[in-house]
């Protein structure tokens, strides 16, 4: 009870200070004032009707409503999670590609990295590991080194774009983790990549 009182008091103080501020800003702001009145009740309302007063039919209806609301809420959470997952997947699905035996960035690679950079800047709580990969031609050792150069080059671009260096560690997998194991240029082109993998916390 005391808590509620203090919150009400806080609300009144807030409203007063707000109306003071708004009145000093001009009359047009009245509508804004009304809007705030709708937003403020953050504390959940106590049910006005006592349980005993509700008819059985109404009760069933309420329960059903509640269930539906809960379901809708659940759906919304799921939908949000799905959107989040999709967004992450879309982020992860696009790789930065390289030419054979090269670790310099092509025009396309820079375009991809620019998008990655802005996404990372929009999601400051997400860290990613930059994996460097190669096609299978040449020794595993050389390709480990080449994969690392690719990961570094991608990292350098992202750091230049303002992504904090500690958010984007690198690792090279050389030719050990191909996306496509066929022996042709299409497969190799897919495999020569810097892959940005979202790190779970």
């Amino acid at each position: 009870m005391f808590k509620r009182l203090s919150i009400n008091f806080l609300v009144i103080v807030l409203m007063l200070s707000l109306s003071f501020c708004l009145s000093s800003c001009g009359k047009d702001a009245v509508k804004e004032d009304a809007l705030y009145e709708e937003v403020i009740p953050l504390v959940p309302e106590e049910p006005e009707i006592l349980p005993g007063e509700v008819s059985e039919q109404e009760k069933a209806l309420t329960e059903e409503q509640l269930r539906e609301e809960a379901l809708a809420e659940q759906r919304e959470i799921e939908e949000a999670a799905r959107r989040e997952a999709q967004m992450k997947e879309e982020f992860e699905n696009v790789d930065v590609h390289f030419d054979f035996d090269q670790f310099s960035l092509t025009v396309e690679a820079r375009e991809v990295l620019a998008k990655k950079a802005s996404w990372l800047l929009d999601h400051p709580d997400i860290n990613v590991e930059i994996e460097g990969h190669c096609d299978e031609r040449g020794t595993n050792e050389y390709n480990l080194a080449l994969g690392e150069r690719r990961a570094y080059t991608a990292k350098k671009y992202l750091v230049a774009a303002g992504v904090e260096t500690k958010r984007i560690p690198t690792i090279s997998y050389g030719e050990e983790r191909p996306l496509d194991t066929d022996y042709n240029e299409t497969a190799w082109a897919k495999n020569r990549r810097a892959h940005l993998r979202i790190l779970s916390d």
Binding site: E141, L144, A145, S172
Partner: protein, 438 residues
Amino acid sequence: MRKSAAFFIFFLILYLCHFRFAYAKVYIDIDSPSFKKFPIAVTHFGNLGEAVDREGISKEIYEVLTQDLEVSGLFNLIDPSYLLKTPEDSESGSKDRINFRDWSLIGAEALIKGNFFCNGQIIEIEAKLYDIFRGHFVMGKRYVGKRKDIRRIIHRFTDEVLFSFTGERGVFDTKIAFVSDRLGNNEIYTMDFDGYNATKITDHKSIVLSPSWSTKGKRIAFTSYKRGNPDIYIKDLATSRESRISHHKGLNIAPAWSPDGERLAVTLSKDGNPEIYVIDKHGNELKRLTNHWGIDVSAAWSPDGKKIAFVSDRSGKRNIYIMDSQGDKVRRLTFEVNYSDSPDWSLKEERIVFSSLNDGYFDIYTVNSDGYNLKRLTSNSGNNEDPSWSPDGRYIAFTSTRDKNRSVYIMRADGSGLRRLEAFDGDQFNISWSPRFW
């Protein structure tokens, strides 16, 4: 663990009995341009035991002996069945009495004969080499070992036969380390030079790469992602103990033992770029050898430890370079070929074997360390990569995709005598030929 222990017990129980010192005479000058294959006859070894040779030991000995002699490329095998009398008849009675004239008549100039005695798991093998042309005994050995050691015993005897003929022991008792993904992930295996006795050495269930034998063959250094990052490990083959010796941030890859067995040349990227360093066997950094914005990787020591061949992309494409062991006097080795990779320095001469990408496929080449006398050894046969010299510099082990999956092959240093060593599933790669173990 057990296997390596057994390996040492084998050495303990094995004793060599010299009947007479090998003749100093060198029968075959393998470097001579007029070199001709030497006609040699091999008999089926006699069974001195009472039991019948149910397990076919005599046949096994014969097969290993003739295989090794064949692989050497030095001999022309004379079929003993050409003899008018069976070998057993003509040699019955005194063991050392050889009817040299009979053997000479069918064209043999040398003869290998012997016998064995099997007692449960223990086997005793006596083998002798005779000079038919001059009519005398040349060299003989007696071996005692376990039943499963028969192949090794015969490999060692053939090593001695080669010594008698050429003045240098063979490499039949050596092993080849490689990486295989036959079980789904990369692990290191070793096998005999002829593909037998494949043994899994690591169990990391991760990415394992680049095995490198230590100079005396007691340890293997390699790269593994076991703990997430590519780190360098050393495995002691006798104790099976593994230690992670280099685990800097970034790459810790491509270990290569120095000829003195005390140091390793490795590639680390801890300073921001893949560079070659020399570390001791505990992982302490001794010296940074390269300092270039490009890639420097895959070091290979010269046999005297004074020079190091390595791969760099400093000219734009990957190529092989040579520097001294302090990182100075860098010069480019390969010019005529593109995308050259994986150098290995012959222990015998100033010759470097490497693979190079031309016309879409990798092939094996050799070149003098001064860049002259480039020779192409493979062509039109899939990708041929990962070459590694045998310790006598007479053979090259490598991987090839000529029979679909990537497998281990050996050939002589001139590209002849090609043999596929195993028929595993999956891909085999990253070859390292062991030194001699004795």
